[in-house]
Symmetry: D2
């Protein structure tokens, strides 16, 4: 059974900062946001975690293996290098969606995202080291079939993007509502979903739904592991298998 540790990363009181004393240059905001995301990606990644950019002012991470001290250090490193600070809130459980519900609620209890007095909250408890297992994290790596031939080389760049975006929007809602999963666009034509213990049939369903609703053909590789990195790398290898076998769903290690 999965036991995902999810961390919500929320920039503290960021909206007001963007317009104080007057609106800041958009290119600087974009640079600051994407660099913070890149830094968090390396910082969580050094300990086998994943983080997704989501809204950039609210990012979602899978942090199995990172304890409170690791979180505190990442929080401190942001404070030491950026003009803004972050709050971090952890939730855990078999359902990634529910774990995030808990993490969010704990942070909301401390005050609003735009509360000038709520800074650098550090909330929640990691999964105790002794309770961690090889099945804690399940990650599904979805990929559009022949995106280059179907979209990139055929349509204008915005229309290509619009199709992929529509595929993503459809998939993310379905996986959330039907399967308690958190799905994130990670660039190109790729979507990574953090899932509970789903079956091959569940994934096949999701793929059919996206094809029927958005007209976009995807395949998926699924991996499991003790950390986001382990599960995610399994998913990538499974996806390569799916490409090789021209199959829709592959799971590694096989159940």
């Amino acid at each position: 059974m999965t036991n995902t540790q999810v961390t919500l990363v929320q920039l503290d009181n960021y909206g007001p900062w963007t317009v104080t004393p007057s609106p800041r240059r958009e290119v600087d905001l974009q640079t600051m946001q994407s660099r913070m995301y890149a830094d968090l990606s390396q910082a969580f990644g050094m300990r086998d975690g994943y983080v997704f950019f989501t809204r950039f002012d609210n990012m979602i991470a899978v942090t199995n293996g990172l304890d409170l001290e690791d979180h505190a250090r990442i929080q401190e490193s942001v404070r030491n290098r950026y003009p803004v600070t972050v709050s971090l809130s952890m939730g855990t459980g078999p359902s990634p969606a529910d774990a995030l519900v808990d993490a969010t609620a704990a942070l909301q209890d401390q005050g609003s995202a735009q509360d000038a007095d709520r800074r650098e909250a550090l909330l929640g408890q990691p999964i105790p080291e002794a309770e961690r297992t090889d099945d804690d994290v399940q990650i599904a790596h979805f990929d559009v079939v022949d995106a280059t031939g179907t979209y990139t080389d055929q349509l204008d760049a915005f229309s290509s993007f619009a199709h992929i975006e529509q595929g993503y929007a459809t998939l993310m809602r379905y996986m959330h509502d039907a399967h308690d999963s958190l799905s994130f666009f990670v660039g190109g034509d790729n979507i990574i979903a953090v899932c509970p213990d789903l079956s091959t049939a569940d994934y096949a369903d999701a793929i059919d739904h996206v094809s029927a609703t958005a007209g976009v053909d995807v395949r998926v590789g699924v991996g499991r592991g003790t950390s986001a990195h382990d599960a995610g790398m399994g998913a990538k290898h499974a996806l390569e298998d799916a490409r090789d076998h021209e199959s829709d769903v592959e799971v590694l290690p096989e159940p």
Copy 2:
């Protein structure tokens, strides 16, 4: 009348690179992609351009004021600092959507996005300096009304994101199909659209459409200028006016 100069930035043969010789760590890909975007944001931004991350492997920039040499330098700087290279293709015209169609077609003519032999294409012609005017770029900065109170502080972080994402998906399709505009999510609850010469009524329409279809309330500030930065900063100030006046659409400078 607007005359937008759009540049398509396409990573060369990037898909194969991500899995050669075997799948690369996702956190490294994320870091590499978001840092390249951050760098391009500063590089185009130093000359008053804007760039949007879009798919990360295909980014779209508004580059009025940047000539071929500026583009070549940016291309060279990527080559000197990244393991991958980029192709750049410019298109211009009153319709941003059409300008991008031209830019994309020119690049497709040179070969596939996954053609190992097509590297560092540099295509298209910038608007001649003598033809540039103060009305060349129109930018609309859309923002969700009270996103903090309605979503961020109320729902779990993924559901908040899903609502904003749905608002974005609806708006981006409408603005593209009805108004030849290119709209991009820029983080938080903000969407920036690159538009032709639209009226206040056109923007009001789009806002109504998003409210009716996705149930998300947005307002918009619109700016015009000789560059993306000028127009975009006007849009930000107009948005502040809209917040102050609690209005839906504000335009600066007033027509």
Copy 3:
């Protein structure tokens, strides 16, 4: 005759910040400092300027071609993305050393580097566009002869570094005292000097001095141009010529 525009970049009140409220992690300070340097290098570089890291809390740039607005934008971009701010002060003149004396004095007049009330000074006047010439900047790129064979592959890494450092210390003092030049270590075994109008004999002298005093053999390529980049790229090509001809000094374009 040269007419170098030098800009002093000074972090505002940085010392106190590093220990408030208690000493900050060294790795974060190192990251912050080196990233700011990298950013300034790109920002000045987009407009053909050079910046040297020097002390990191005080950096020295060659900014021929950048006006006050360019400086202001760079200052603003730092403010928008870093937890600290910078002051900028320009000086100009035929002697790079004297130009920096003027730039420093103007900034000192505004208050101490550790004055909490002196923030984001922006001082000095750029060379008027009409007065700029192709000879304004002279740059010498010094390089240790066969550093790999003599040091890197022979000695332990610290001893190699100590030799190169000693060569640098000797050269930088000689070039400053004898030739009003500002010399900077730029990594590896390379030193870049910003010089007034020096002759081939002057450079040969300096090389002899370093060889006699520090026992380190260097050669140099010299370039001239309207900007740091133009002169610096000339110097690099001249250095390649010196390697090819096994000569000590090469100048491009030949006088």
Copy 4:
């Protein structure tokens, strides 16, 4: 007794790359080098290591606590995000200088720094976890007394730098030759030395030597710990004590 684990980071075949096919823009090289250093600083730092920029093409790290897998991951992350690769070689022992001698020799055995066939060497063995103690790392943080009042606010920026540089050059040689220590300039007026088990009298000696030889007054805080971070943070607090007590040498925890 100390037992320092030192890692030599060497860019593979970097010199030829900088001029292939023709000399690369200096600003891009500077950006690439300083960003790689910043990244390594975070990567080693996440596991309590320190890295020093040294020559940038050869960097020296203190890596107590990082095992081979950690090193391999850092090496992979560089490969995934930069146009160049790095070799890593570890040495250990009571003398930091000797540990580096071993690390360097092992790497030299694999081929030249400019050998096109020697890529991504990963050499040496970390200190076994069971042998690590609280005294393994001794770090001394040297700082110029009132650098702001004596230099920065008084002299021109280059002359200030030249004085500090001279202090550094003198200190680094003395600490290496007399005390088997590796000293690195870390910006501003700060020097961090990685030392064997030195006494307060040893440090006092070094300070006297720098004052007598280079005319630069420094004080030092010394810390000990199981990692570079622990020892380094102790050194920073000791330095604050030295400032408070106006003493020359402070050691934490007191022996």
